[in-house]
């Protein structure tokens, strides 16, 4: 959605992740050091906000924010200290 020279794209959604993917990301597999901890299938809500500011016909300033909420199935793993992930990006691009 445009706001002057800005284009803003909010998004919300959810991931359903299988146990295999969850364990790959945050669990302890059989070949790892420590007692195995397999993460059950789970749902991860997420939200993103991306904004682009047209500096000129070719140059764009980009700002992005993203966050995920990790459910108990993930945070119960002893490796996991927090129940969310957050990422922000600031960038500039040249487009042909």
């Amino acid at each position: 959605m445009p706001f002057g020279a800005w284009t803003v794209e909010p998004s919300i959604g959810m991931h359903y992740r299988s146990g295999g993917l969850g364990t790959y990301l945050y669990g302890i597999e059989a070949g790892d050091d420590g007692d195995p901890f397999r993460i059950d299938p789970h749902i991860v809500p997420f939200a993103t906000l991306t904004a682009g500011f047209e500096l000129s016909d070719h140059w764009t300033l980009l700002v992005g924010l993203s966050g995920e909420y990790l459910p108990d199935a993930v945070t119960d793993c002893p490796l996991v200290d927090d129940s969310y992930t957050a990422t922000s990006v600031l960038g500039i691009t040249y487009t042909s």
Partner: protein
């Protein structure tokens, strides 16, 4: 160090950002190059925030065998076709890295993860209220043999 942090952003924020580099949507081939800085928190190491550089490079061509081909450093490879009524169906190939792969500190010592190569399909439905999308992907590299389904608006 920063590599693993993109495990949970490569399919999310950076994907959106990379696609955003083609704003406004243009006909036929468009390429984009850029740089950025990423700040990412890890659920593995509380209070740890990484700052790392990001290279953004993408190419999109809306006229490849009747569909749209997109290749980029942050969104992998995708090919989609637009159908009447605002429906787009696409297939994609991307990679994912676990945040456990090279986490700092002793918490993840003795844990190693391979890069996962994933393929999937996606349906986007453009309405006057926004874009509804659904996708499903699975690992084809044997890194986790898992799957993920996503609904987004």
């Amino acid at each position: 160090m920063s590599r693993h942090k993109r495990s949970y952003s490569s399919l999310g924020l950076l994907t959106v950002m990379s696609l955003a580099t083609t704003w406004p949507v243009q006909a036929e081939a468009v390429w984009a190059l850029g740089i950025g800085l990423e700040l990412a928190s890890s659920p593995i190491e509380k209070d740890d925030v990484d700052i790392s550089p990001v290279l953004i490079a993408s190419y999109e061509n809306d006229d490849v065998l009747g569909g749209s081909l997109a290749v980029g450093t942050t969104e992998g490879i995708s090919y989609g076709r637009l159908f009447p009524g605002g429906l787009t169906i696409s297939a994609f190939l991307d990679y994912r890295l676990s945040p456990l792969d090279d986490a700092d500190g002793a918490v993840a010592d003795g844990i190693d993860r391979d890069v996962a190569i994933e393929i999937g399909g996606r349906v986007d439905y453009l309405t006057s209220r926004g874009i509804f999308s659904a996708s499903i992907l699975g690992d084809v590299s044997g890194a986790h043999d898992g799957a993920e389904a996503t609904l987004a608006y």
